[in-house]
């Protein structure tokens, strides 16, 4: 994949954040004492490895990188930061696409890559307990072949469960199976003051607030998870995968609507437009026709009898909506080729353009024709090509803005911003699975008003009153917590209109 050009300025928030103390030699010594000298990096070369996550246009050098190996070490690291008032960022595999793991300048970067143990596999209860550095793919491997872990982001070979928890990761199968948040039943977390807190467990419905649900997807701003209990489910009896080709994305969209409204919930339903097909076919060579307007991949899973019946239904619906041809995977190799084409879509863009910018927006599914037309219109306006990949069931759109060289990078990003605004205007969201991070925080006010952001900050302050955990992310502007306000009470005389307060 060609590296996107470096065009953006470092995010401004990192300097003006409430927590702004810097790493000191004394803090580094303390971290060395906790984790061992071999697991604390301060050399410029070592630090550079951690200056970006998967979103390469943002780069910030941390003051120190530390790799704790246990909950106790994480706790001691975080306590040392608390004592020194130094902000920190937790990082999993660094494959995130919103700059969520971008370091704080002169802050501490806590990499969780050494915490990769599978702590317990409990298949009778359909649970697995893992440390945060375990990769997404390793979870399914550990519970297979009888069970699997449904959330499957495209980066599943490398991305870590800790990162998935932070970002509430989805994937191609989440329309039917749900997101990370639907599978996390328990967490052990370390708060910024070093307190270790257990949320949930293997059991459901623990008494009290659903802090588990608020922690998942909080982008590392509420604490660090050090152990994760996940629900896993039995592997379906049968999987059938097909791809239908259409003249237009609208026709494919109509087919999606008809499939879903008819009561079929496919395991996955993914759409690629012509530009995407061209690029992916060049990369994979799976035999997709490159002169069609849209490819619609539908995967059905479940019981054998149900799959067979529904496959016939889906084929009939596609034909009714004008499909040009339909290919039904006849074996595992064929199924793999179809999925390889889909999953290669991002990386394959390098074959048709020197650079690209991946957008992540969500729209109500029925708005697809309008929004795609708007994207095409914006592309024309900017003189840039936009390829579209679409998790069609849940309305998650990934437009890829293609551009050539650093000179166009800023315009490409601007166009991507206009696209995300079009998603919000259509009743959708600025991000479906990549997160807000630093990249999207400027769009937060498009979705949320001041009282909404104030409520977000209430939650944040309950967990991290000093703003040390991943500051400068998610919220559009830095905020301080302050003390819990004392209740304002009207004086009885004031209430009765006898006196007023001036």
């Amino acid at each position: 994949m060609p590296a996107p050009a470096v065009a953006m300025n470092p995010p401004s928030a990192t300097r003006s954040d409430p927590a702004s103390a810097h790493v000191t030699p004394a803090l580094v010594e303390r971290l060395r004492a906790v984790c061992g000298p071999g697991h604390v990096y301060t050399d410029a070369d070592q630090l550079r490895t951690y200056e970006s996550d998967g979103l390469l246009q943002y780069k910030v050098t941390p003051g120190v990188v530390v790799l704790p190996a246990s909950t106790a070490e994480v706790r001691a690291v975080v306590r040392a930061c608390w004592a020194a008032g130094v902000p920190w960022v937790a990082r999993g595999a660094g494959s995130g696409l919103s700059g969520g793991a971008l370091p704080v300048e002169q802050g501490v970067l806590i990499a969780l890559t050494r915490m990769r143990a599978v702590l317990e596999v409990d298949l009778p209860n359909q649970r697995i307990v893992v440390q945060p550095g375990v990769t997404n793919a390793e979870v399914s491997l550990a519970v297979g072949p009888s069970h699997f872990y449904p959330p499957d982001p495209s980066s599943q070979i490398v991305c870590s469960i800790g990162g998935n928890v932070a970002e509430n990761s989805g994937g191609a199968h989440c329309f039917k199976y749900g997101f990370t948040t639907n599978y996390v039943t328990g967490l052990e977390i370390v708060l910024s003051d070093g307190e270790v807190v257990t949320l949930g467990g293997k059991e459901l419905d623990h008494p009290g607030y659903d802090l588990l649900g608020t922690f998942v997807g909080s982008e590392g701003t509420l604490g660090i998870c050090t152990a994760v209990t996940l629900r896993v489910i039995p592997v379906p009896e049968m999987v059938r995968t097909m791809v239908a080709f259409f003249d237009t994305t609208s026709q494919a969209g109509e087919a999606v609507s008809e499939i879903v409204s008819g009561g079929v919930i496919p395991g996955a339903i993914e759409m690629m437009d012509n530009l995407t097909i061209q690029a992916a076919e060049k990369a994979v060579g799976a035999g997709f026709p490159t002169d069609v307007g849209a490819a619609l991949i539908v995967e059905l899973d479940g019981s054998k009898v149900e799959c067979e019946t529904l496959l016939d239904d889906v084929v009939a619906i596609c034909e009714r909506n004008g499909s040009l041809s339909i290919r039904i995977a006849q074996d595992d190799a064929d199924r793999a080729a179809i999925w390889k084409t889909r999953k290669a879509a991002f990386a394959a863009m390098g074959r048709i353009a020197p650079n690209y910018y991946v957008q992540d927006g969500v729209i109500p599914r029925t708005m697809l024709p309008e929004v795609l037309a708007r994207i095409a219109q914006l592309g024309d306006e900017y003189g840039m090509r936009v390829a579209n990949v679409f998790h069609a069931g849940d309305g998650n759109l990934h437009p890829l803005v293609l551009y050539d060289g650093e000179a166009q990078a800023e315009r490409a990003e601007e166009l991507a911003g206009r696209i995300v605004e079009a998603c919000v205007d259509a009743g959708g969201s600025i991000t479906g699975e990549h997160g807000v991070g630093v990249d999207k925080k400027r769009y937060m006010p498009r979705m949320f008003d001041e009282p909404d952001l104030a409520a977000f900050q209430m939650l944040r302050c309950a967990f991290d009153p000093r703003g040390l955990a991943n500051p400068g992310k998610l919220m559009p502007t830095p905020r301080l917590c302050g003390e819990v306000p004392g209740p304002y009470r009207r004086h009885p005389l004031e209430r009765d209109g006898v006196a007023e307060r001036f």
């Binding site: 989805g170 659903d210 802090l211 998650n396």
Partner: protein, 388 residues
Amino acid sequence: MSAHTIRRETPRTAEETAKLLHDCAADAIAVRIEGAGTKSWGHPGADCGVRLRTGGLDTIVEHNAGDLTAVLQPGVTLRELDETLAGAGQMLALDVPLGAGDAATVGGAIAAADSGPLRHRYGAPRDLVLGVTAALSDGTLAHAGGKVIKNVAGYDLAKLFCGSYGTLGAIVELAVRLHPRPPAQVTATGTTDDPAELAAAASMLAHCKLELQSLDVRWEESHGVVLARFGGVAAAEQAAGAQGLLAEAGLQAAVEEDDEALWAAQRAGQRSAEGGAVVRVSGRATQLEQVCVAARVAGATLVGRAALGVSWIALPPAAPGELVQSIARVRNVLAPSPCVVLDAPAYVRTHLDPWDHPEDATLVLMRRVKQRFDSTATCNPAIFVGGI
């Protein structure tokens, strides 16, 4: 405070709701926030000067049939909602007991994180709610989430408000995910008088490759039943398959095509008769036999979501002192699985902690959340976990 001084309020807009909470906070008046009042759960709580019911907020704001989503005010009754959605062949997969006069509201069910048999396939309220708008005691209206199925922008406060029992503020609007109504439903049942055999059969179905709508168990007097419900195009074939598996496991197996009464009874089993009590057990699936035995020993009826490990033990009406002792025994046997008392006479909810305590550090964090959202302790004070 005596009952006659309680002021009743049913605000008709979100703004009125926020203003009411703000004014009450300023005057140090505690507010009891309720839907239809079909669930008196938790601690009896502090005396409240105002009783806020959401019945004035009873509009289905949007039903986006093509997107399988809806935007609802909290006072919409689940029954009315279901009738509306049925017209489009859709449903909100929240099949909870509806209470007296089928009065239960969507806001109340979600604020109490109640759930029914469909949870097996479609999840709990937390999995169905896409967005929330809440009136807070500082007078603001805070909104989180959205009305699309997939969305990771901002903190997921919708989950925080699910199961918060109105202690953080009053929900004034909800966006929810809908599902297509399955065209046909068929249930396979297996009956046995051996709790071990019941648990083994339920576990076998929980791990089998059939796609179930619901997987419940029931224990009543001297026998138990496993109920496996299927929906969709292959419902009958799958139910026949499950019947075969149950028979192989040694149970007396049958298939019921007209199965609505069976499931109505499962829902009803989550509530108690007047003068009885219900304990909700958050167990592990492998504890099912133990939970059945605990119910049998207590002379109680049990319904449970077999694959999820969540069960409801309904103790028959008894003297309040006896109920307190029965509940303590159930808790002793099933510890450390959380056992939360739901329906129960006020005496019982006063003489034991209806909530099982979370760990201290967890409770401290929950208190901090309450303080940030409702610093004046205006909303449903002292009814929740740890007296929150």
